[in-house]
Symmetry: C2
Subunit: 506 residues, 2 copies
């Protein structure tokens, strides 16, 4: 049943078959069956969300192509919701939920928030079939503090202190709380963490050790989602780098870092129980509460971001300071084939000779652009990559991304002249900065990677030191099809450009 909406469905970003999706929940890796699990905030029967939220479930062999299993944990009563949380593998059966019939690598325990009008409390549920069915613990809740704004537990095993750790948000008190447990059932409060920008509330915290590139060290990173009230409008994620002893997180500095400068990167969650070699993998919700319930997709609303691998590295923030920064690398799984459709090297881009690339299959692109720009001042010094739709009834729409050497910032411009784009919160232009990858006398080199997937663009600057994730909504029947790379002044840009089309492997 091919419909226009099936054609418009992102290829490598997970979307539910039907209904509403928001935050990703409890992503984990089943090492026995070599399968990735993803749960998510889900309303099966409508696309406006927020009523009787369930956990939905999807699984994947490669983090790019997902099988949707539909609802997996449902509220017992109307008005309740199974809100966000996490999944851990309780290998040693600390919880007592398992017997020997369940492989230690498949002893999945979900820790989630049960929401009602009266309170938000933390509950657990366990699976004896490797994450496809969950049974709620009979003595739930496992943690309650008499609050209506207490949610989104992220749990992990902390080996040095030999206990489970939960980070959870006292949402409207702007606090991330840290609890400890030996059995996932009894929790003891250890410490508070508060930092970053104020917004309306804090949500979806995370805490994980991330390797520092070029060393054998790791640092702890605290993730924190704020919604609404971020300066870019609505929802966004921040992070902090520091030390964690199992009880208290102490950031190295009092500053805060932005995880992704786009308007569609929220409620980031890391995968648990991954193999060391797979790195620190995480996934976000690719929307913004300012317009999530209005975006024109059907029969689903909501998408994840592409799964990203995270490391830390010292990168220049300016010519005088290097900052430890998350390096984000998108994961393109083995179910997806990259077909090289364009390649050029050392091409001098003039105003009268833009590069045009017309692909022929899915219109899902993985683009890498490295460019060198002269340091000489020129108010017109801008490079622009337009992603153009097919033409229908004489209409063609585009989104743009690029770099302005005078403003010294990358931009993504999703302004399209159609009805949805008039939404007063669907901000058209987003930007982010990155220092040059290399500076050679009067030349500066930058790199930009863009993954375009039907209605989502994820831009990674300078090999992932910064990212911009934005959805975009072309008119019905229009989808990204071709590219044009242009310069607004002559002889200033030398480019290497590769364009891969992403197609499902047969």
């Amino acid at each position: 049943m091919a419909s226009s909406s099936d054609n418009a469905r992102p290829l490598i970003h997970f979307t539910p078959q039907n209904g509403w999706m928001n935050d990703p929940n409890g992503p984990w890796y089943d090492a026995k069956d070599d399968i990735w699990h993803l749960y998510f905030q889900y309303t099966p029967n409508d696309t406006t969300g927020l009523s009787d939220l369930h956990w939905g479930h999807a699984s994947s062999r490669d983090l790019s192509t997902w099988e949707d299993h539909g609802s997996i944990i449902a509220p017992d009563e109307p008005g309740q919701g199974i809100f966000s949380g996490s999944v851990v593998v309780d290998q040693n059966n600390t919880s007592g939920f398992f017997n020997d019939s369940v492989d230690p690598l498949q002893r999945a325990v979900a820790i989630y928030t049960l929401h009602s009008a009266e309170a938000q409390v933390q509950e657990v549920a366990y699976s004896t079939d490797g994450g496809y069915t969950f049974y709620k613990y009979e003595n739930n809740p496992v943690l309650e503090v008499n609050s209506t704004q207490f949610r989104d537990p992220k749990v992990f095993w902390h080996e040095p202190s030999n206990h489970w750790v939960m980070v959870v948000s006292k949402s409207q008190e702007f606090k991330i709380q840290i609890y400890g447990s030996n059995d996932l059932k009894n929790w003891v409060f250890h410490s508070d963490f508060a930092a970053g920008l104020y917004g309306f509330q804090y949500e979806c915290p995370g805490l994980i050790e991330v390797p520092v590139e070029g060393t054998d060290k790791k640092k702890w990173v605290m993730f924190l989602a704020i919604n609404p009230g971020m300066p870019l409008g609505g929802s966004a994620n921040q992070y902090f780098i520091g030390e964690f002893d199992g009880y208290k997180f102490v950031p190295d500095d009092t500053q805060t870092r932005i995880h992704d400068y786009g308007k569609d990167y929220y409620a980031f969650q890391t995968f648990s129980d991954t193999d060391e070699k797979d790195g620190v993998l995480g996934v976000s919700w690719a929307s913004n509460w300012q317009y999530a319930r209005r975006v024109p997709t059907d029969p689903w609303r909501g998408s994840t971001g592409v799964v990203r691998n995270h490391t830390l590295a010292k990168v220049p923030a300016n010519p005088q300071s290097e900052l430890l920064t998350l390096i984000q690398t998108p994961v393109i799984g083995s179910s997806i084939k990259s077909e090289r459709i364009f390649e050029t090297k050392n091409h001098t881009l003039n105003t009268d000779s833009p590069i045009s690339v017309t692909p022929n299959k899915t219109g899902v692109f993985d683009i890498e652009l490295t460019f060198t720009v002269s340091a000489e001042e020129n108010q017109k010094k801008r490079i622009n990559l337009s992603i153009l739709s097919n033409v229908q009834d004489g209409k063609q729409e585009d989104i743009k991304l690029g770099y302005d050497a005078n403003v010294e910032a990358f931009y993504v411009d999703r302004s399209i002249d159609n009805e949805f784009n008039k939404d007063p919160y669907f901000t058209d232009k987003i930007s982010a900065i990155a220092e040059p990858l290399e500076t050679d006398e009067d030349l500066k080199t930058f790199r930009l990677r863009a993954i375009i997937d039907k209605n989502i663009v994820e831009v990674f600057l300078n090999d992932g030191v910064s990212a911009i994730t934005n959805t975009f909504f072309m008119s019905e029947g229009l989808l990204p099809e071709s590219l044009e790379l242009s310069a607004s002044s002559d002889d200033i840009y030398t480019v290497d450009l590769t364009v891969d089309e992403l197609v499902p492997r047969e």
Copy 2:
């Protein structure tokens, strides 16, 4: 000489007669002659800025109408710039620059950054004529630390510790430094302060005591400008609330607050030597480095924000937390007359009966809108105030502001279908949140004040708990002229609306 650009010049926002302006510098009050002085980063002979920056000078009797005196401090050598700084009144002649011929209330000393390719150092200059002429100190610089990124000193007298205090930015090290002096010439380092978001660099710090409403207490507020790399794109200001003992600033919490959510509020500076009764007055640059050098005004480029009075008050950030927050109130001076051209009370706004207001004089508005909205969910529940231009060649342009009750955020939408608006950094939509002023069973009340001045809109939410300042650029010959207030669903908004036209007093 009436020209279209004279007609387009803002009325109550200062703009230089000719040339380029960026940061406001050294605003102070001369209590002897009852006159306000404002200096500013200035390039007299072109409108693209950044070359051989001077201090320009303007004066005002009422903070709304300014006389432009042109350049007042110029660099001595090509390639140097007189960068941002402050002015203090050295009443007791601690500096030794003055004799009895200069009234103690007019002993103005400017402390500014001398910029060159080799270094940024702090210099002083003094005025014996009440701020109209400055003489550079012969033994400049007064503070140098062997850095090319060390600038924007804000100096004030700290009575309890009986010395001058300077806050100054180690810009690319993300540090605000605090120095002390007895004579404005010899400076001793005391402490560093670092907090907030990382961007490319920190600039234009400020530190001042602000009264807490409803108490006889004051708290110290540290201001900090970040450019570029703010999440909303480019330049913006943050602030921190805490304690200061004359040597070290200690914030009350580790969070950071946004001063203004618009894209055109940067390099905020407070007035020095004001009378207690005048409050804490401050002024910003109403532009953004992402497009400041391209905005279509002529023969000037650059404008200040309206002078604002600042207090602190505890206001709800959400239903469970109150936060100490800057309350910002625009100052409309006595040279400006407010003429009431529209007033309605308890008006039920339906979709089929928008309110239209057509003024007849300057097209400079001061609008106050109080509205009550039902708490019932309705995806279409939005109120919109369009500011419409005159009609020329059949073309009319508008900007919009309003509130969406489902998204629970105020918006300003400056998207206009003309060439300048295609600038990839001139973001169209900006939003900010504010909790209801009052909640009465199923009704919520909000208030919005908007000052529209030719090409600048400043929006104050709920009596100043949050603000959004944005420039906008209608096509040549078009300027704000009339208003339309509309609702997108029926019977949900009850409004009080007043519209004052602002006109120069004869």
